[in-house]
Amino acid sequence: MALAIRIIPCLDVKDGRVVKGTHFVSLRDAGDPVELAAAYSDAGADEIVFLDITASAERRATVLDVVRRTAERVFVPLTVGGGLRTVDDVRSALRAGADKVSVNSAAVRRPELVREAADAFGSQCVVVAVDARRVEQRVAPRAGARVGARWEVVIDGGRTPTGLDVLDWIERVQTLGAGEILLTSMNTDGTQAGYDNELNAAVAGVLGIPLIASGGAGSLADLYDAVTVGHADALLVASMFHYGTHTVREAKEYLAARGLPVRL
């Protein structure tokens, strides 16, 4: 029997409020992350991701409160990411009720964070989020370098290039103890024009842990392709659900009708 392909809505949370548009017009408060997470969970979402994009120094208490209240109402796995920099940040998020945490820029700046968090809490709690941007090949690759399409790891929401090759970085964090990889293509994110499945497949090829693909889902066929072409184990979806292009139910039924294992 195969594990079900997971459909995971991602909610951007700022100062304790959801910032993207939402399809759930019937909600009393469509900006409340707890209500939205509960609505998605009731609609069949396999997991929920909260991405905290609060800029202020007060973010920690606000997002922990959101996590705490969500954990009282939502009973599917909850992942929290955004600005987590230390093992203490990870501990606080898990204690508040998150099942997993996602680390991104902080891991690039201090890779040992991945190992420390995995050692302290278990690899299953540690998702390493990686933002990747295609590299235009202007110079012939040096001997021994990977051939074909290449991607560079970027951090700080895409603002800061790192010079790291995405496959090198992912192999490294896997060794450090990451439990899953959340991979976002900066080229397709927000476009609703499809995932970068060449990126997904390249990463899947080096992974012994699950791959959550993110960035670009706009049609139901995009979801299918991310699994069959991109070899993703799970799909992070934001715009497509938030703007009501499709529902969680539609997404799952589409995949199930085409023979993919799905939890209905």
């Binding site: 029997m1 594990l3 079900a4 997971r6 969970s41 069949g44 396999d46 954990a71 009282e72 109402r73 009973f75 599917v76 796995p77 898990l94 204690r95 009720g97 099942d99 278990g122 690899s123 299953q124 439990g179 899953e180 012994g208 842990i209 699950p210 184990d233 799970a234 939890r263």
Partner: protein, 248 residues
């Protein structure tokens, strides 16, 4: 030793859940994992929750839940260090309902192959081969050897009830009290690298397929346990917890 009873703990059914008042569920706190989710889930289905590390309260609990994530060896060390191993055995012997969750299922067995890195104070544990469990269900906990499938087994997978025995009357097997009203083939959420292999197949109440067919739930008398996380398995998981909270 501490006992925590949440503010306003009573037999209230939360908004939207029309369940009648249920008897309290006691959750063992031995520092092995996030039991808040388990506590939240029981509260959500209307069962008052007591969280305690007091062996007396554990032994005398009306309904006892043993949660757990992490390594088998560390969990057994903590239980023994806090006197909770005997307390759990006493509770089980009382005949009152008991539920083990995830590691809480594995700990019931005779021993585990999970040695991993040496446990503090027992430098030979990495080569010993087996670590003793609570010994309440004869059997061995084994590593999931399912290459090329990925380990740990993480995600949503389906469970199936055992085929009816030739001697069963009426054909269709009863799914067992934990699974009343829950159709087989439902998906539940797993996160584990080891699986329980009980000596007696008759105690297995549900199987899961992941490279191999393994026991994902056991039931014997008052002892119930599940390998998956019912507190993370959406409505199916909540139904299982609701069923447990009304066992008597």
């Amino acid at each position: 030793m501490n006992t925590y009873v949440g503010p306003g703990e009573s037999a209230r059914a939360p908004e939207g859940e029309a369940t009648p008042a249920a008897a309290p569920v006691t959750i063992v706190d031995y520092g092995a994992g996030n039991l808040a989710s388990v506590a939240n889930a029981f509260r959500y289905v209307g069962a008052p929750v007591v969280v305690t590390s007091d062996p007396e309260r554990v032994a005398r609990a009306e309904r006892l839940v043993l949660p757990g994530v992490g390594s088998f060896g560390r969990a057994m060390d903590r239980l023994k260090g806090m006197g909770l191993d005997e307390a759990v055995r006493d509770h089980v012997r009382s005949g009152r309902p008991f539920l083990g969750v995830c590691l809480g299922l594995q700990l019931l067995l005779s021993e585990s192959e999970e040695t991993g890195s040496p446990v503090a104070g027992r430098p030979d544990s990495a080569v010993a081969g087996r670590i003793p469990g609570l010994g309440l269900v004869p059997g061995v906990v084994r590593r999931l050897d399912v290459a090329p499938l990925k380990v740990p087994h993480v995600g949503w997978n389906q469970f199936w009830y055992p085929a009816p025995s030739p001697a069963s009357i009426g054909g269709a097997p009863s799914p067992g009290p934990l699974f009343e009203g829950v159709p087989e083939g439902s998906h539940v959420y797993f996160v584990h690298s080891y699986h329980a292999d009980p000596d007696d197949p008759a105690v297995v109440s549900a199987y899961c397929d992941y490279g191999i067919r393994f026991a994902c739930a056991i039931s014997r008398g008052n002892i119930h346990a599940v390998q998956f996380h019912p507190e993370k398995s959406g409505p199916v998981g909540l139904a299982i917890l609701r069923n447990f909270s009304s066992l008597g």
